[in-house]
């Protein structure tokens, strides 16, 4: 069954005619063409599909698009402002915290939500916050360094 959904994504409002049983991940990628959000395990284990809704990290593969209405959705595409990268994106580049890049959108968005909540976290707290985001290139050390460098600058 198709229905019109109204979604607020990256500051813009979209009206999408789509199947009601689609997840937010599917609608973002297939209906809106926002492929920065990645499909990993598709079962809520890897964190690659993380997007922010009202500033909090959600697994878009386990969120119905219908339930994402009336929320402010932020995907990796909406993070830079007027062409300037977000400090976290800058830090990931500077520290070399990207290898294949597949986990990066989810990793950065989770880190953003976490740093907005906790200004000066410890290394241990950072590790715990991103424990739901898997990186199979095993670049965790640099990712943690990048997040901490932003935290210490805030």
């Amino acid at each position: 069954m198709k229905r019109i959904l109204q979604l607020h994504v990256n500051g813009e409002t979209y009206e999408v005619l789509t199947d009601i049983h689609k997840t937010l991940l599917e609608v973002l990628r297939e209906d809106l063409g926002l492929t920065g959000t990645k499909r990993g395990c598709d079962l809520g284990v890897c964190g690659a599909c993380t997007v922010l809704m009202d500033g909090k990290p959600y697994l878009s593969c386990l969120t119905l698009a219908a339930d994402a209405q009336r929320k402010e959705i932020l995907t990796i595409e909406g993070l830079s402002q007027n062409g300037d990268l977000h400090p976290l994106q800058e830090a990931f580049i500077e520290k070399g915290a990207i290898q294949c890049g597949f986990c990066t959108p989810g990793m950065i968005l989770t880190a953003k939500a976490f740093l907005d909540e906790q200004r000066h976290p410890s290394e241990e707290e950072v590790k715990r916050a991103i424990s739901g985001n898997l990186c199979r290139c095993t670049g965790y050390v640099k990712i943690v360094e990048a997040i901490l460098s932003v935290a210490n600058h805030k």
Partner: protein, 326 residues
């Protein structure tokens, strides 16, 4: 993996949700956080005609203080529960158990009610449809066999929730709403210990609130898992222990998760502790005794013998922690 097709309802009140549930009880499911339900739907473990989303029902995520204790709305997210200064101060063990669930995003999405009502788990059941198609379905999947206990006439799937053991140890009650109005009963009674139908909710009933009495004694939660994030417990233990004025144990609750078809209370071990003073020999005795009292099955990748051994170790750690607190 796509979700199967379904009809989507977003009722505005609990009464409406309950009515919708009564209308088509077998084919409807309730959606709260979705971290358990949508996985099961993707794996085609359940294929409901209707999904009733509870996300738009207001006033079900509050924490209020009353004469009987604290009432928590079933739709409160685990993240809000963890962030509550009141709960952190009064029920640190409850907050600790919620922190142990999944990872950051699961806690943001998952609700307390959803966590308490999560499905039982088994290594033969919680698999993709492709994997399960290799053999006839088990009891829980609608078939007539159990791969955990051969020739068994029932389902042996295990309850693996983190928060229920702590809330049972804290003597929490649940308030459910149904077509016949509200009823309140101990959380312990929410679990049927029947792997196939683990919850004692009647037709059209929905978990509305959880009421926790004022804390008495010390409570702690110990979780043992394969890695220190995301995972369900291999097994876990909630312990509540109350001493009298002379330092003797007045009351104790020992609740395990992951070792049976519901949260498991080890009554015999509790009896051994009652009236005694905590000492090293006593801790040694009961932590040995508890390994004989539980009867875990081979529902996960670790053996029942290992679970028994770890149950003793967790109980010893918990009792030693409380003994050091004085």
């Amino acid at each position: 993996m796509r979700l199967p097709k379904f009809e989507y309802l977003a009722p505005k009140t609990l009464r409406e949700a309950s009515k919708a549930l009564v209308f088509n009880n077998k084919g409807s499911v309730l959606l709260a956080g979705g971290t358990d339900l949508l996985v099961q739907m993707k794996q085609r473990l359940i294929q409901p005609d209707r999904v009733i989303s509870l996300k738009t029902i207001p006033r079900l995520s509050s924490i209020s203080e009353g004469k009987e204790g604290i009432r928590i709305g079933a739709l409160i997210t685990l993240h809000d529960l963890i962030s509550s200064p009141l709960l952190r101060e009064r029920y640190p063990a409850l907050v600790h158990s919620a922190k142990e669930v999944g990872a950051y995003s699961h806690q943001v999405m998952g609700t307390l009610g959803g966590n308490l009502c999560q499905g039982n788990r088994c290594r033969y059941y919680n698999q993709s449809v492709f994997w399960r198609n290799a053999r006839p379905p088990c009891h829980k999947a609608g078939g007539k066999v159990c791969y955990v206990v051969r020739k068994s006439g029932q389902c042996h799937s295990a309850y693996c929730g983190d928060i229920a053991p702590v809330l049972i140890a804290l003597a929490a009650q649940v308030i459910v709403v149904g077509p016949e109005g509200e009823r309140i009963f101990p959380l312990k009674k929410l679990y049927t210990r029947n792997g196939k139908k683990p919850l004692a909710l009647k037709k059209g009933e929905i978990l509305k609130e959880i009421e926790i009495p004022s804390p008495a004694g010390e409570t702690c939660y110990f979780k043992w898992r394969l890695r220190d994030a995301i995972e369900f417990p291999i097994l876990s233990l909630a312990l509540n222990l109350e001493k009298n004025g002379e330092g003797k144990i007045k009351k104790t609750k020992i609740i395990f998760s992951g070792v049976g078809p519901g949260p498991v209370e080890t009554v015999e071990t509790e009896k051994l502790l009652k009236g005694a003073a905590l000492s090293d020999p006593l801790i040694e005795k009961v932590s040995h005794g508890v390994t004989k009292e539980i009867s875990p099955m081979y529902t996960s990748t670790v053996s029942p013998a290992y679970k028994r051994k770890m149950a003793g170790i967790l109980l010893r750690q918990a009792l030693e922690k409380i003994m050091k607190m004085k």
